[in-house]
Each structure stands twice: as C-alpha cells, then as structure tokens.
Amino acid sequence: MKILVCISPVPDTTTKIAFTDGDTKFNTAGVTMIINPYDEWYALVRALELKEAGTAAAVHLVTVGRADAEPVIRKALALGGDEAFRIDTDSNDPYYIAAEIAHFAKDGGYDLILTGKESIDYNNGAVGAGIAELMDANYIGFATKLDVAGTTATVSREIEGGEEVNSAELPLVVSCQKGMSEARIPNMRGIMAARTKPLKVIAPSEATPLTEIVHYELPPAKTGVKMFTEEQMDDLVAALHSEAKVI
C-alpha cells in the first residue's frame, strides 16, 4: 500500500498575528513556521505506524508551497517518509490546493491520502474532501482511528455527539485528528537522514484559485475584565443578564 500525506506549513500557534501591505498579507517576519500539528501528529505519524507495521510499503509527502516551505518539509521528513514533493505554487484557496494535489496524485498510485483535520492558519479543513471529489474517491473526515487490512480501511470518525465506525474500500482520502496517534519527536538520525531524502519540485497544473483573502482584520481588544469577589455572585448574574445579555 502506498500512502500520500499532505503537509502544510503554518505559523506557530504562539505567534503574535500581524498583517502587512495594508492588512492584505500575513506578516511572516519573525514567525517560526511549523508543520501543521494535525498533519504532523496524526496524518504523518499514523502513516509511519502503518509502514512500520508492514501494512504500507511507502509513505510520500506532498506540500503546496514555494521554496520557503522546504525547511518545514525537511522537518516532516525527519520524522519519516520516503520522499517528498513540493508543488511550486501557493494560495490560500482550498479548492486550488486540492486541485494541485489531486493533479499530482492521480498518477501516483496512492491507496490512501491523509490530511490533518484542518490547518491552524486558515481553519478550512476543505482540502481532503476536495481531493476526494476530484479523484472520484471516498472521503472520511475527522477520523480518530484508521486501520487497513488488504484493500479495506476501517475508520472511526467523529460525528455529532459521538463516534461512528466506517468501512471503506481503498483508495480513500481521510482527514485525521486527535485519537489517531501520538506525536513523535524526531531523533538525530531522522534529522540527518532528512537532509538527503529526495525532495522533488513539481510544476503546478493549470488550475486557478477560486477564492482569495483580500483583507485581514484583528478583533477589537477586550475592554478589560470586570472582577467580582466570591460574595458578589448576585451582581455577576445581574451583569450577565442586563449587561452581557447572555442569560
């Protein structure tokens, strides 16, 4: 079985968010880029576990991004994976990302394509389902467990107020979240090996983005917390009712 893991470089969570160019672009100055946690801890680690168990023969990584995405791809290769591909373009449109990956993957013979549940920068979570539609495959989102036996995948997924276990034939696209696997720390050998693992640059297809972020805005700062003592709970309830109007 051959697995493709989609890796997205994102700004580190603790980053102070700022915008430039008249609030039309995210300011990357001084920002550490990391592997999207859902992609790393869940999609990539599960793929590596399946390879270690002998279920998968190969794990490939794909990223849609410019050359500045390569340090993050190497971080992913340090955890594992046989080779990586970088589709040389960028956009914040989820359809475009899905179209590029689907175009790349269609001749790759992948049985399983894994993504994280969503990226922590744009929070769309739309790429996996988009890839599945463009490849005429099934998609299971928000998966918490994934096992493969032969050509059948058994996937547990989050549903409203609970969990459902699905069974689907490969090829399959799955988005992964907590429960799937445990985060790993790359070891020295992995980091060294990552430097020489193949990282191929691929030209983008003729797809065009269908959406574009034209403006960013920071939310208004909180006006300051109103404190109450333990003895003032009636006052707090009154404020929640007449001031905040939430009860």
Binding site: Y95, N123, A129, K178, I213
Partner: protein, 324 residues
C-alpha cells in the same frame, strides 16, 4: 437563480443550525434579488418542512430517499448538486459542522465553485462577493473574495440569529439517481450520546480545567451547568487524563465553539485553549491564580477557590431564575 441551503434534521425536527442557515440563506437571497430554497434529505414530515417558511424559505426540495437517513457524503453532495443545478443556484449554503465540512468541499470541487468554510457574516456584494471568516484559530478575521460564478458557504453555528416570522414553504419532491458508489462507505457501528446539545451549538457552556484537581470535583460544575441549562466542556489536560470524555475537549486540537456564554473554571487560558473558545460572546473566568492568562481574555472574572465560588454562583443563578 435561487440560493440553496441544506437544512439538517434529527429525530423529526430541524436542528437550530438548519434554521440559522435558512435565515442566512433568505437574507442572501434578498440581497441578490432572488429566493431561498431549502434542500431536505431523508425522512421528515411535511408539517416540519413547511415551517421552514417562517425563516424565509419559499420552497423545499425534498429528497425522500430513506437511504439518506444514514449519512453518506457522496450521496448528500450529489443531491445538493442536482438541486443547485435545477434551481440554477448561485449560492449554496451548509452548516459548518461535521456534515457540512465533509460535503461542501465536494460540491465546490464538482461545480468549480469557490468555498468559504466557516462564514461568520453575510456576503458583502457591494464589490464582488466577499465573506468574512475566522482565521488563525480565531485570532483574526479574513475577508474572502469568491471569484467563481457559483459560491459555496459553510456557516458557523450560533453566529447568525434566528427569528421566526410568518410564512410557509411549498414542498417539491426531488428524485436523485443514486448509484452504489454513492453509498459505498459502510457504517459498521455507531456510539452516540443522544439528547445532549452538541457542544458546537450550545449557547451556554461551563468548562473545567486542571485547576479542578480531579474528576471527583466535577459535581459543582454539573450543578452550575444544570442551573443554567448549559453544556459541559473541558480543557485538553482534563480530557487527556480521562477525567472527562473526549467530546467535551475544546481548544486548538479539540472542538471550536462560539457560545454566548463561556464560563471557564480552573483553566489557565493557554493559547491553545483560547483558540477553541475565543469566538465566545462573553467569557467568565474563575481561577485561584490572579496571574492566569485567561483573565486577559475575559469579560468577567472571579479570583478564588472554584469549590466555594461555583456553588455560590449556582445559587445566584437559581435565585435569579426563580425571580425572573
């Protein structure tokens, strides 16, 4: 040329987010000079469907196929695409929930339609078609311009108000030619906790963190939640330690919620937790530590021991409810 909205239902009733979606769709339709059509999949009564008229829906397209009573992303997407094509719909709306997030990108990819996932406002059509959503885990807003002819939007639950008006919708049956591929994912088992409001739709939430010291102390939070009619949530360490079930975990790697009221008890307010709750309208923080970062994100705060404060708050809520 209408606006299409998927109206989700469960156990014979439309979900609150279905009504939010209907209202949102009606507003969008009005601004575009057209009408809003709801797509309803699976078994539900005509009376219920015509009630959607109170939320601005003029027509319901009902795909009555009972196979749709069990979720299938491909089947749902196929039905909505057919409805959209029949109606020459320019805007297609789903809720931003597990279902909507699995089918909207499929619909968008098939129709080459731009997708805004997690809209928090109506489209601005003064110069193109621009929709606002949260980005960077709620730390900022992004205005997304949709360039394609057809637009797909998933709407954040509990963002758009619902006001029932007058009107009833007409109901039309829509036959969809499904094939085996559309139902090729088999459901093997389901574990559901029924009767509880899904956290993503709860208007009031009481949440506990590591400061609660142990699962045996949750009774005070359950009492507070009971007095308010609130749902329970928790921080990551609490879920990881199995003090509370996984589905209560809110935060960057848990659920993202936007309740009207979020009461955080014994939670320090790490960035990763805030990412899940910063869309809350009002935040109350109860914590023993005056330096807890959460106070910076709070509207109201109480410093002290949760075990004594929370019961007092519960009493105050009960007293308030008895007198109002």
């Amino acid at each position: 040329m209408s606006v299409i909205v998927l109206a989700e239902h469960s156990e014979g009733n439309f979900k609150k987010k279905a009504l939010e979606g209907a209202q949102y769709a009606a507003n969008v339709a009005k601004s575009l000079g057209t009408t809003a059509t709801a797509v309803v999949l699976g078994s539900i009564s005509d009376d219920q469907m015509s009630l959607l008229g109170q939320y601005g829906i003029t027509k319901v397209l009902h795909v009555e196929d009972s196979r749709l009573d069990q979720f299938s992303a491909r089947a749902d997407a196929k039905a909505i695409i057919l409805a959209a094509q029949q109606e020459s719909a320019k805007v297609i709306i789903c809720a931003h929930d597990v279902i909507g997030r699995m089918i909207a990108p499929r619909i968008a990819a098939r129709l080459k339609a731009g997708l805004v996932a997690g809209a928090i406002g109506l489209p601005d059509i003064s110069n193109g078609f621009v929709v606002r959503k949260n980005v960077f885990a709620g730390k900022a807003f992004a205005d997304v311009s949709v360039k394609s002819d057809i637009k797909v939007i998933t709407l954040m639950p509990n963002t758009f108000p619902v006001v029932a008006g007058e009107g009833s919708a007409t109901i039309e049956k829509l036959a969809v030619p499904f094939d085996d591929k559309d139902f090729s994912i088999k459901i093997v088992a389901t574990n559901k906790v029924t009767g509880t409001v899904p956290l993503s739709e709860a208007e009031l939430v009481v949440s506990g963190g590591r400061g609660m010291k142990g699962p045996e102390n949750w009774g005070v939070l359950e009492d507070l939640a009971g007095s308010l009619g609130a749902s329970l949530a928790c921080s990551r360490p609490v879920a990881d330690s199995h003090w509370r079930p996984h589905h209560e975990h809110v935060g960057q790697t848990g659920g993202t919620i936007r309740p009207n009221l979020y009461i955080a008890v014994g939670i320090s307010g790490a960035i990763q937790h805030l990412a899940g709750v910063n869309g809350s309208k009002t935040i109350v923080v109860i914590n023993k530590d005056p330096e807890a970062p959460f106070f910076k994100a709070a509207d109201y705060g109480v410093i002290g021991d949760a075990m004594t404060i929370v019961p007092k708050l519960t009493d105050a809520v009960k007293k308030f409810k008895a007198n109002n």
